[in-house]
Symmetry: C2
Subunit: 348 residues, 2 copies
């Protein structure tokens, strides 16, 4: 039924070994033989059996990419960049690799399960994106898994995620703290003193780092911090909407709202508008990430641009062994403050 290597070999009148060598091209084969084999492959419409070859060679050409939410452009952009580099079809030379994008939904268990699945497939590399959950047992479990993967020869790269101690994983971290600090600093510089903060889900490194940056900026300016001005939510628009109403309820005199990310900021804008408040005249709004739609918001969003595509591309290259890992295996990627229309001098 299905064509196998042996069929091709028979047709080309060579041994299976030779066909394999032609296909893998890492062993000298006379030009005439090679051509004969290639012709047979073509005539029989032969397609290599991936599992069989992975089994025999003890390696596969799968590369795993773990994301929290594939429907979120934040991850989509990184995944896209990573994938472009791992050399799927259309990529540079080298064996074609299949990118396996896994949607963890932010759940630690699923993250672990996917890692196991990838380990089971003997993935060539794994790139984990997005913040990690700050749960000690889980962090330990992930670290153990990463160690095991590394032992099995899988290259592990963290992209936009804090380093995993005691692990061979290379980490490209986003400087969330620094970015957040610059952002809030900008708002304070404009004269804001009563700032609401819509944080992401608790227990996530990204959430904590951004919040820390925010607080550091407040502290640096001697602005007293009121815990009631911080609300936690999810990283989506809906959450921004709800949180904003809540913040407004708690303190209607807020002059600025800093959101965990751009989607949240958009939800905040909607809530403010519905509440009859103008942006930025009544309340300034700031996001984080600078996703493509942020510039189209009205007013366009003041935010921190994260070089998602660049970081992803670099992570992809490192995962493929095409670029040297940063010294110490850790690099911090800075964001850039983008001041736009949604932030202005406070009223009064």
């Amino acid at each position: 039924m299905t064509v196998t290597l042996a069929d091709v070999a028979a047709r080309a009148q060579v041994s299976p070994a030779t066909v394999s060598r032609v296909l893998n091209g890492n062993y000298p084969v006379a030009a005439s033989t090679r051509e004969r084999v290639l012709r047979a492959v073509d005539e029989l419409d032969y397609v290599l059996n991936g599992p069989a070859s992975a089994l025999a060679a003890a390696t596969s050409d799968l590369v795993g990419i773990l994301v929290n939410d594939i429907a979120d452009p934040f991850f989509g952009i990184m995944a896209s960049a990573i994938q472009a580099e791992i050399g799927g079809p259309g990529g540079r030379a080298g064996g074609e690799r299949l990118a396996v994008v896994c949607n963890t939904g932010g759940s630690p268990e699923r993250e672990l399960t996917y890692l196991t699945l990838l380990q089971r497939q003997r993935a060539a590399a794994v790139v984990l994106t997005g913040g990690a959950v700050e749960d000690a047992p889980h962090a330990a479990a992930v670290a153990a898994k990463l160690r095991k993967l590394a032992d099995a020869g899988t290259r592990v790269v963290l992209c936009g995620r804090p380093p995993a101690p005691d692990t061979e994983a290379v980490a490209l971290t986003f400087d969330n703290r620094g970015g957040a600090r610059a952002l809030t600093g900008h708002l304070i510089g404009l004269g804001h003193r009563r700032l609401g903060y819509i944080a992401g889900p608790e227990e996530r490194t990204t959430t904590r780092h951004r919040l820390e940056g925010h607080r550091a900026a407040l502290a640096a300016a001697g602005v007293e911090e009121d815990p009631r001005r911080t609300v936690h939510g999810r990283y989506d628009r809906r959450s921004g909407h709800e949180a904003t109403l809540e913040l407004l309820r708690r303190d209607p005199s807020l002059t600025a709202i800093v959101a965990a990310n751009d989607s949240v900021a958009l939800g905040a804008c909607a809530a403010l508008r519905e509440s009859g408040l103008r942006i930025p005249e009544d309340v300034s709004v700031a996001g984080f990430d600078d996703l493509p739609f942020s510039i189209d918001a009205v007013p366009s969003l003041t935010t921190v641009r994260l070089p998602l595509a660049e970081a992803g591309a670099r992570a992809g290259r490192i995962a493929m062994g095409r670029e040297e890992p940063p010294p110490g295996g850790i690099a911090s990627v800075r964001g850039e403050l983008m001041v736009r229309g949604s932030s202005g001098v406070p009223r009064e």
Copy 2:
């Protein structure tokens, strides 16, 4: 070095066959034995070798999802829904499957290459999303590939893509034509007569269908169609921006702009605003898809909502054989007109 089935068998004092059966759970194994095996698996931290088992069983637990652009929420949302259904970790019972999201970038060659790669992996199912390219040779090549995949036992589902004739592929098509017609009809109903149309890339079914719907609406209302009022571009914001400037240059008296999709519409809004035109007072704008950010645009976007998540979920279920394919293997999914702030009565 690595733990194998045999090691587990030795430890549990049973044969490899028994271990395999416990792990696959499709053969009676005494409870006590099963427990002993499971304990051994746990103690040895055993992870099944995917390729080996795929080879032996002649099937794999990989499911391919082809998308045009993973960074685009349009595809991200569908991919996410599909993946949730194919039962990755956290999904319903059944073997855990790994979703392989492949980014074709809209390129026919890459599409074909990915299909081959999936065929090589003996994928359990493949879901192709997004419009197809209208190139006869390519369409034939894809059809041939799909046929071969089906022959090899891979289930093939098209989601948001026109049916592939002479193929066993199940198709869930979006009614782009009907949606576009309703959308333009809405604008005409408001009184618009000079409508610009920003189409997607030529040679794509989605582009053509939406354009046909638009023209059908114009024809139905007896509005003469001026070819100069249609511009082709890509499905992104930038393209919408450029195309709008071009349309405005060609005919400054336009009162409405219909975009190929929401991203394009947002770009159009930006361009209009930069040109000093108000939306919708001076020019109405309409998009397509109703992506999450569209409701947050200012004014919020009039568009056609496509049930991306629902269609994806259904495609996923069909791919897993958990839902009956529609009669004839083809179903048309309708969009819903969402009238919002970006469309209004024309000036003058």
